[in-house]
């Protein structure tokens, strides 16, 4: 039974990863692409790893999958934050149709 649920989690994770990659192609600028890739890929990968944990149980690969989930959740937003900040500091513009850019106003 837990094996079946594990496979369902893996399929859900794969589809979210797919949407994340599609967003990387479809969205217009760096920041929107980061949004798509960070969120979808974080939850998608965590879901795949959790499915692996359900299939393997409390064995060596299962515990490692849980540790990987913790580290991915802690580090992936930080790297997205670093990329967005670096992009803005080095002068990457927002998309033309953006509403406002408070950060740019503050820097001036």
């Amino acid at each position: 039974m837990s094996e079946l649920i594990g496979y369902i989690f893996i399929v859900i994770g794969l589809s979210f990863d797919f949407f994340g990659c599609l967003g990387l192609v479809r969205f217009p600028d760096v920041y929107n692409r980061l949004q798509a890739s960070t969120k979808s890929v974080t939850l998608g990968t965590c879901s795949i790893l959790f499915g692996l944990f359900l299939i393997k149980g409390m064995s060596a690969p299962g515990i490692k999958a849980i540790l990987c989930i913790i580290f991915i959740i802690l580090t992936s937003p930080v790297s997205a934050h670093a990329l967005a900040r670096g992009a803005h500091k080095s002068g990457v513009r927002l998309w033309d149709k953006s509403i406002c850019d408070r950060y740019e106003e503050e820097k001036r």
Binding site: L22, N32, A60, K64, H81, A84, R85, S98, E106
Partner: protein, 165 residues
């Protein structure tokens, strides 16, 4: 041995045991040695306020925070998937400024991470002295500081204050 060293030793040993599961005596001895060495070298850099680990209520608030966080995370993914599939790309992006009253490093880190993983928001930069965060919002509802703070920050802020401050 200070308290922060002991906490770091326990955390390091737990991660080591997780990586070398199932536990056997050889791994345990090496783990104790390595965790002890690391704790001795870097113990006072890692944890600044060890007395916070004693409060049981903080752990309970953390357990309360986890399901909220996971639920927001799932909502964020469905939201992004919807925006990706929709043929017109319903984007309305912009960078807004929000205010936070959290002060400590850990709380601000967790707040920024939570904001990044929740629907439509990505933290870009932080101004720790003033207590401001700059956030890229995929669907800007309001560019006003107070209004945006209420919409983005408030739901996490009140829980995170009880955990980390």
């Amino acid at each position: 041995m200070s308290k922060s060293r002991i906490i770091l030793f326990i955390l390091g040993l737990l991660i080591w045991l997780g990586l070398s599961w199932p536990v056997n005596p050889q791994h345990l001895i090496v783990g104790v040695l390595v965790a002890g060495f690391v704790a001795l070298l870097t113990g006072d850099m890692f944890i600044k306020r060890p007395y916070l680990f004693k409060h049981a209520s903080r752990y309970l608030w953390f357990l309360y925070y986890l399901p909220i966080f996971i639920w927001e995370c799932i909502k964020a993914n469905i939201d992004v998937a919807y925006r990706v599939i929709h043929p017109n790309r319903p984007l309305n992006p912009g960078i807004v400024k929000v205010k936070t009253s959290l002060k400590s490093d850990t709380a601000l880190t967790f707040l920024a991470n939570s904001i990044t993983l929740t629907p439509g928001t990505l933290s870009v930069d932080i101004d720790q002295e003033g207590g401001f965060l700059y956030i890229h919002w995929i669907d800007v509802k309001s560019s006003d500081v107070e209004e945006a703070s209420k919409l983005i920050v408030e739901r996490f802020e009140r829980i995170l204050r009880r955990i980390f401050e």
